[in-house]
């Protein structure tokens, strides 16, 4: 029991690692503030492009989306971070994470928004067009607001995944929360900093997970 506490809940070590981890939290939050809006915007663009009548464009778009859904994000990240420099494209760790996340997340957000758009009946579109709105105006003011509302739980769920995913930035040495914790672990030879990091993730995400769970059950029930 003592050993367990000593290994995972060593308060002295946690206290020592706290400043480092707090800086990590800030970096994680900054990362989220960049990659979440970016990925969502990218997803919106892809989803709107997907409403085209051209079969060809829809097929190409589906290929693009499926490709980035098939490649694990960590593979994409390492490719962007360590592969592209060979082709003469040097990116900072932060930029590499932003690019990889944009490619990956926008594919997921796009699929969700697409489902939302499909959930809106033709009547809405026809009503809007009958009042003289253009196709773009109809999409912007009538279809998308309802579509997004309809898939809010899925958007929220995906956003939780994105926040969790920022932890892989540690692999390319971006000093976010998990990287900071793992640094502290390797210096102290003790797992407590990682437990502390887990605590921060829980603090950040547990309320959102609870909220999501309630939303999901309300819709199911």
């Amino acid at each position: 029991m003592d050993l367990l506490v000593e290994t995972f809940f060593n308060l002295a070590i946690m206290r020592e690692a706290l400043p480092l981890l707090l800086r990590g939290v800030l970096t994680t939050l900054a990362l989220c503030a960049v990659v979440i809006p970016l990925g969502f915007a990218g997803g919106l663009v892809l989803a709107v492009l997907g409403t085209t009548r051209s079969r060809w464009k829809r097929f190409l778009l589906a290929c693009w989306i499926d490709f980035f859904r098939a490649v694990p994000p960590l593979v994409l990240l390492i490719f962007v971070h360590s592969g592209l420099p060979f082709a003469g494209i040097e990116l900072t760790a932060f930029a590499a994470v932003a690019v990889a996340f944009l490619l990956n997340n926008s594919a997921y957000y796009a699929e969700i928004v697409r489902a939302g758009i499909e959930s809106i009946g033709r009547g809405q579109r026809e009503a809007a067009r009958s009042t003289g709105l253009t196709a773009t105006q109809t999409l912007t003011w009538v279809v998308l607001p309802q579509a997004v509302r309809n898939v809010l739980p899925d958007l929220l769920s995906n956003t939780i995944e994105v926040v969790k995913l920022t932890s892989i930035a540690s692999v390319v040495a971006l000093p976010e929360l998990l990287y900071a914790a793992d640094m502290a672990r390797s210096v102290t030879y003790n797992a407590s900093p990682i437990v502390l990091a887990a605590g921060f993730y829980l603090l950040l995400l547990w309320p959102v997970v609870r909220l999501l769970s309630r939303l999901e059950h309300r819709i199911a029930g």
């Binding site: 367990l4 390492i78 490719f79 969790k164 797992a191 769970s213």
Partner: protein, 232 residues
């Protein structure tokens, strides 16, 4: 590296598709694919089974047990899997539990999938109307019999699409194993990359993932439309 005489296309090929490296490391990447598949299959089977078991236990409606299940599910949904992997891999040996990196990867991904699967199965079970329980119980079927023969077959239809998507997402997380040295695709690729100083193995790894997962993603798409039925 790149001499001025080379065209952009040649330079591109030289960087990402060097023929000698393609030949040299194809065996390693193939080995990585086998390991990735092994972990993925084990995680899928164990995670889904454990998730179903947890949903079953939750249906029994014991308060204390339900509380524990909900906490477990929430924690697994809120924590990044990489955090758990590092925690298990570096923490457990200090308390005398040494697990191989393969086992740690399998265990963490199984627990994460189980948590998501439990939520999905549970939502599916709730979506079956009360009348179905009552009708089955009124003919003398017991709790377990009702669950197995009446509720689950109906719940499964609802659960297949989200479960497929979640399962795909989590099997892709097998790539996280590289961080603790599981010899899966990404690990083989990055090892070869640092050894050769070329991006070709990375490209090979990426292609290996695409080969493995594009069919799976397309399957997921198909399942989604196939099971998208109107609820009566």
């Amino acid at each position: 590296m790149a001499t001025p005489e080379l065209s952009a296309w040649q330079r591109f090929v030289e960087t990402f598709f060097r023929p000698d490296l393609l030949a040299e490391y194809s065996d390693d990447i193939a080995l990585g694919m086998v390991v990735t598949c092994e972990v993925a299959v084990l995680v899928l089977v164990c995670g889904t089974a454990l998730g179903l078991l947890l949903a079953y236990l939750r249906a029994l409606r014991f308060r204390a047990l339900n509380f524990l299940i909900v906490v477990f599910v929430d924690v697994m949904r809120a924590l990044p899997p990489l955090v758990l992997i590092l925690l298990f891999y570096f923490g457990l040996p200090s308390v005398g539990i040494s697990l191989s990196s393969f086992v740690v990867l399998w265990l963490v991904l199984t627990l994460v999938l189980a948590a998501f699967a439990e939520e999905i199965f549970w939502a599916g079970m709730l979506s079956v109307r009360d009348g179905q329980w009552q009708a089955a119980r009124s003919t003398g079927l017991g709790f377990n019999q009702t669950l197995v023969w009446v509720i689950l077959p109906q719940a499964v239809r609802m659960t297949v699409p989200p479960l497929t998507n979640r399962a795909i997402a989590i099997t892709k997380n097998t790539a996280l194993g590289t961080v603790i040295g599981v010899g899966e695709i990404l690990n083989q690729a990055t090892t070869a990359q640092s050894f050769t100083g070329s991006a070709t193995p990375l490209m090979m790894g990426a292609i290996a993932y695409v080969v493995l997962f594009v069919p799976v993603v397309m399957l997921g798409r198909w399942v989604e439309t196939r099971f998208a039925w109107k609820r009566a």
